[in-house]
Symmetry: C2
Subunit: 490 residues, 2 copies
């Protein structure tokens, strides 16, 4: 078995993984409503075949026969991914993997019921089982190392809880203070009126193109939850519309365009190989968030968007571009992570990061989770959680067993802060460009500096190379304090 033979095998696996993504898109957009059970079986078959390919004992023999040192840098990077994925797949006992898959399905259902009934106790037995299984998984993968760190590798290779904790520890007090100061000031005036949903979709597609999304290799549809799916030449996004809240549609679209542009922007030579996808959740989120926030919610771009919205909708209840900028960037009290603004969002994530590490480490029993959540929330946000669906039952992640996923949201924001600092150096007149609706300079730099590399480097290495310095939380904090200090007259 040569390296080329191995890569041919790998291409087939990658192609099948793309097919699984296509099925997921289909399910959320166009699948007949009565096809759910059959689709579960179809996706189960693809997952089982992928698992069998990834744990095929012959793969171990092939890997043993290849001398990485003889390969070029791209080949070495491919082998790094293939060896890591194989080690992970084979370390996890098959019966544990099956038990987690079964529990995920049951726990998800139980979580949905508990959330609807505002009944935490109904969910806890399944959560307890899931925490126990994920601890076992982490222990199997950790090979003697830290259990939570082992889980984290699925989402952010190379990251450690200790490293994230240092970063996030510096963020929290300044975000708590900024949040309180802003909410102490009068809230800006919001939009008024009802916004035709077809017109929202037209503007959303125009925004997608403006941010560089290649519509010949993608498409924009409506779905319950916005998402991006696929790699290479077939990267599709979804968005949603609400007649009372056009910003939800527009900023969901720009966010997903960030994810999709990353996948579309990877060097085509890496297509259908382990290098052909975004390298980590954190780097992925850095792209979606810098598109959405540092660029999309900037004074420069909102000035342009204000005009487009007036063209599309007429009177929107705010009458000048400064007021529109303030409306786009309003802080509001609230309990829900996914609805939070740039300042408060990370406080939601930090809460979950701390609690999930305590759960996995056994420092927090699931029976005390609600109390721990609520007291932490009150400490950071200044008011109480009124019901579980606004508290510890609000997110799907833990029911799905996604321990280690949450911190990548804030890591993405930290990376976006670093990248914006570097982008400002590289494209000094980015504000003038965005004010004219021209994103090509900004997104072009991101493509060249980050996106095109795919999985060539380790996640933190991609960001460090793009920025010319090691990533830290400082640029994000400076950006937020400056932007919201000015907006709220602090």
């Amino acid at each position: 078995m040569s390296f080329d033979d191995l890569m041919a095998h790998e291409r087939q696996t990658q192609a099948l993984a793309q097919v699984a993504g296509r099925l997921g898109w289909d399910q959320e957009t166009v699948m007949p409503r009565g096809a759910g059970n059959q689709r579960a079986e179809e996706m189960g078959a693809v997952a089982a075949i992928l698992h069998a390919r990834r744990t095929d004992p012959r793969l171990g023999e092939w890997l043993a026969a290849i001398d990485d040192a003889a390969l070029d840098p791209v080949g070495k990077a491919q082998m790094r991914h293939i060896r890591r994925d194989y080690a992970r797949a084979t370390r996890l006992p098959a019966d544990l993997a099956a038990e987690i898959a079964r529990t995920r399905s049951l726990a998800h259902q139980r979580w949905a019921e508990a959330r609807a009934a505002e009944d935490v106790a109904h969910f806890l037995p399944m959560l307890e089982k899931m925490v126990d299984l994920k601890r076992q998984e982490g222990a199997a993968l950790a090979d003697g190392g830290d259990v939570y760190d082992a889980l984290l590798q699925d989402y952010e290779p190379g990251a450690t809880a200790a490293g994230l904790e240092a970063m996030f520890g510096a963020l929290r007090p300044r975000l708590v203070a900024l949040r309180a100061a802003c909410l102490d000031r009068p809230a800006p005036k919001g939009l008024e009126g009802r916004f035709d949903e077809a017109a929202q979709m037209r503007l959303a597609r125009m925004l997608a193109k403006t941010f560089g999304y290649d519509m010949a290799r993608g498409r924009v549809d409506k779905a319950v939850h916005p998402f991006s799916s696929g790699s290479g030449d077939d990267v599709r996004i979804t968005t949603r519309t609400n007649p009372e809240d056009p910003f939800n549609c527009f900023y969901s679209t720009i966010h997903e365009v960030g994810h999709a542009s990353y996948e579309q922007g990877i060097d085509p030579a890496y297509a259908m190989t382990p290098l052909g996808q975004g390298v980590s959740m954190g780097v992925h989120e850095s792209q979606s968030r810098i598109y959405e926030n540092q660029l999309g919610r900037s004074r420069a771009f909102t000035g342009w968007l204000f005009e487009r919205m007036r063209e599309a909708f007429g009177d929107i209840g705010v009458t000048d571009a400064d007021a529109f900028y303030a409306a786009v960037n309003t802080l509001q009290p609230g309990h829900i992570r996914t609805e939070a603004d740039e300042v408060q969002y990370n406080l939601h994530v930090l809460l979950r990061f701390d609690l999930e590490r305590d759960l996995i480490a056994g420092r927090l029993d699931v029976s005390n989770l609600e109390e721990a959540w609520n007291s932490r929330f009150a400490a950071d946000f200044g008011y109480a959680v009124d019901k579980p669906s606004n508290g510890c039952l609000q997110d799907v992640h833990w029911s799905e067993g996604l321990f280690g996923y949450f911190p990548t949201y804030t890591l993405g924001n930290v990376y976006a802060g670093c990248l914006m600092k570097a982008l400002t150096r590289a494209v000094p007149d980015w504000e003038a460009q965005l004010a004219a609706g021209d994103l090509a300079g900004a997104t072009g730099w991101l493509r060249a500096a980050v996106q095109r590399h795919g999985g060539l480097m380790e996640p933190r290495e991609v960001i460090a190379q793009a920025c010319g310095e090691e990533p830290s939380e400082a640029p994000l904090l400076e950006y937020l304090e400056q932007k919201f200090g000015a907006l709220y007259g602090l």
Copy 2:
């Protein structure tokens, strides 16, 4: 390996085959236009994995270990399919299969170029190669038997060229005579006007529901070519619109609803097993054609459709239901199989059936194909072929290597004739029901008599059991001569 283990393996293979169908639908309806090459690689990976599963040597060991005699009738039928498919897959040498796949892609492209340039000679070298490869394939599959019959089994298990020849030989002279007599009479008046395409799609969806298509387990979209795709709970159809020819949209829709209803109507207990699809191309076509023609183009149903079209479009250029019925069933001179009416359609098919047997048997050299086609066409239709795209370059099938496919079109019409005779006995007032737009009696009988059985019986056996007699061409001939004799006052 027990029978249950084998069936679990088989379910996974069937699920993956369904996934391949889903990709095909996606490609023809919603795929981004720049995703073609990547999709080819995705579909190639799924095909390669399916092929590996179907030829897995362990499958042979498992089959050897199972005692069919100990199984119930459904289990015996499953084993019949699995053993037949395995024998076929393993008899075909891997390098021949790969060479055919390669040649198919090249020949298809060459055919499209030749057709566009009206240049038969440009296509002939690729056709010659394809005929040669399919002869080799047939010889490998035939295991000493007839080569063409071996190819035919892919589309119509149990059929023989000799059996079809006897049936078709009885059809041809009477169809030639009926065609000539009808075209000797004045042509009925056609529709007039332009027909809004969105209104066509609304009426097409209504027709689909009227014919019993379950929209909760399917969907109707537009595509260049109408098709039906999928089995069980996810069976999707496409149709097309032409502002000048609404019948194309409506009867394409009803035709595909016939195919789709067959797949939707199979006993759910057979889902994701070898019994869970339509049993042959001929039986499939019997459903699409009886829906489209014997039912959809009947005087009773067209009376109801006439009212719906007037509601949707206002003045359509014909003013009473009898004239509308005549317009639906007009014979026109023409060269193209897919545009032909009920009478002439089978003459197109018989021509291809005779020529393709001669090609495979070596009685006809590809260099003489055009001449053979044109002289046969003149004999049956009474006028000359004016250009190759109206003659031997009009169909895609031979470039794809689909030798043995054509006769199933006419076999489907023959079966539809038999089934209509039986349906008339079982649902004596079907005409009154259809005149009221009620298809439930007719389609319900077809579901119970044919569709629900899936692959349980052999194709001819399904039809014979449904009809209570062995299938023959007589009912189709009687139906056509009676219907068109009355319409054309013969």
